[in-house]
């Protein structure tokens, strides 16, 4: 029978490499100034879905919401074996918090009516772990968080959940949404043949940009859009077109999207300024270490 799976993935700034220069004045992150990577636990979510397809058949569709640059993680997903990639991109989705994001994703997932949805447990840029549970709530799917092992049997899933101080085995009814831990599996690497084939996969927004480049400023908008349509249809025949949806395509209510749909607002952003030099320094020598330890013993901190 097989299971139709949707995997929600996110392109994230590599937070280990953030610098102050990557911040905009309003306190939001200038993502363009940062290296962008596949959110690590979303790779585990993708792997889990691919395993389901390997074992039971079905399909794996990957969805990313974000700027056109998020096509990079969609292509990476295709290299690793996903069947289809969908980009949700729309300026009106900017400034969405987790509630608005989960609403937008729910509109897209609902169009696909999958049996299973996989999300990484959390993304490294916000660490909130909120979008998975909120998406399940909006879809009315069974939520199973912190997945480490999955077995499917008809309309039921048996899952081992990592609950921090131990584990839990549960039996859950499908359709279900799973948030996947990094400990669940080792994501397979991109496959060479798939990479060779799918490296040319493009979303319409990327094709339009390429057309702009080749036709130049002198070309009329009509000529440009005709050329874009021609190239898109060409890609479609080669099965290399990344599906692109905006908020209208997924019939999202704009009141629940972007800033308007986000109940949380930024009140204040403070850059971290540390008052340095306000500590007692000891040299890294035998006598330095001895006098430091002596001081700590003297005041009964140690000993």
């Amino acid at each position: 029978m097989g299971y139709n799976c949707v995997v929600c993935v996110k392109q994230v700034p590599d937070t280990k490499r953030i610098t102050g220069q990557a911040m905009k004045e309003d306190g939001t992150v200038n993502r363009a100034a940062l290296p962008a990577i596949f959110n690590p636990e979303d790779l585990n979510a993708l792997e889990e879905a691919l395993r389901v397809r390997d074992q039971h058949g079905g399909t794996v569709t990957v969805i990313a919401m974000g700027l056109p640059a998020a096509c990079d993680v969609l292509r990476d997903s295709l290299f690793r074996g996903a069947d289809r990639a969908i980009l949700i991109t729309d300026r009106r989705a900017a400034a969405s918090d987790t509630l608005a994001t989960s609403y937008i994703l729910s509109c897209a997932v609902r169009k696909l009516k999958p049996d299973l949805v996989f999300c990484g447990r959390q993304a490294i840029d916000g660490d909130t772990a909120q979008v998975g549970p909120q998406l399940a709530e909006k879809l009315g799917y069974t939520l199973v968080t912190y997945l480490e092992e999955l077995e499917l049997d008809g309309p039921m899933a048996r899952v081992k959940r990592n609950i921090g101080n131990g584990y839990e085995r549960v039996r859950s009814r499908l359709p279900a949404l799973f948030t996947v831990m990094e400990t669940a599996n080792h994501p397979r690497p991109p496959a060479l043949l798939k990479a060779l084939k799918c490296k040319k996969a493009r979303a319409p927004v990327e094709i339009a940009k390429a057309v702009d480049g080749t036709l130049g400023a002198s070309a009329t908008p009509e000529a440009k859009s005709a050329e874009t349509a021609r190239r898109c249809s060409d890609m479609q025949t080669q099965n290399l077109l990344i599906t692109q949806w905006n908020l209208d395509d997924i019939e999202a209510d704009l009141g629940w999207c972007g800033g308007a749909g986000s109940p949380t607002k930024v009140n204040r952003i403070q850059s971290i300024v540390l008052a340095g030099g306000d500590y007692k320094e000891f040299p890294p020598t035998d006598s330095g270490v001895a006098s430091l330890l002596g001081e700590l013993i003297q005041d009964h901190t140690i000993g």
Partner: protein, 354 residues
Amino acid sequence: MIEVNRKGEVWVFAEQEAGHLSDVPLELLSKGRELADQLGVPLAAVLVGNKVRPLCATLAQHGADLVYLAEDGVLSHYQTASYTRVVCDLITAYKPQICLFGATAIGRDLAPTVASAMKCGLTADCTDLQIGDHTDAQTKEHISKLLLQIRPAFGGNIIATIVNPHRWPQMATVREGVMRMTVAEAGRTGKTIKFPVNLAGVDLPTEVLESQRRAKKVNLKGARIIVAGGAGVGSRDQFRLIWDLANILGGAVGGSRAAVDLGYVDHDHQVGQTGTTVRPALYICCGVSGAVQHRAGMQESAKILAINIDKDAPIFGVAHYGIVGDLNEVIPRMIKTIRSGASLSDAVTGASKA
């Protein structure tokens, strides 16, 4: 979503498992008490489970004026669907202004689901909560006495203060250990309000087959001395130095998130915003650069000693003592000095003369 209710109470979700409260709801009650007093509203605990009534007294002693008690056999084990239904019904009935949850495995499952169902905002892993004012950047609308939800973000280069001005309740999760628990007041009592559980139409999609819990191997919260290592330690093998120093001092071993991510030390040892928050008498951090998430978890330690090769490392900004040097040389020197009583007693004498 409920309308803005200025008379609304401050709520704390009283997470319990098998009739035992963890520390985090009691810590949240301490913070909730401050917030409720500033707002001039009652503080309530929300207690959901089966046969959990005896916990009401503990919650009152830790500051709750009221306990909303929802008991049912079906609620004996935490399940997303049933607990979400009960908490949402309670919120709809009583319209609290603030709801706080522990950022535990359960809290991080329940709180976002409740927020989604109530269509309100939620801020994860707050390191501080305050009452304050907010002016909207675009509309210039000024709103007073909102919950300021404070958390580090984006790799720790910024501290963000988040508010939830219009769509209430204002919800936040807080990690265990972040808020300081006040001592229980033995004579303090509160009112218990029994809330009728109505799970009609909720057929539970999940069945718990097996549950295994282990006591945390590491007791960081209870340790007087913690020796922590960061990415600068270099490898899991070299982390042995951290263990050796902790052992000789009778302390516990901690690690920064970077050290845990690199596999130098297990997650149970992680100190910081997404790990454990600690306040030992002495915190020795070795090769820890001092990202704000780490500092959020240790900066209230009584004494902080930073050992780092980089004199500009942010960790020195919160340190009381510092050694700028290679931890591979400094730590063995410390161990040697502690082992050799003689030179240490000289040092003590030296220090007392100074």
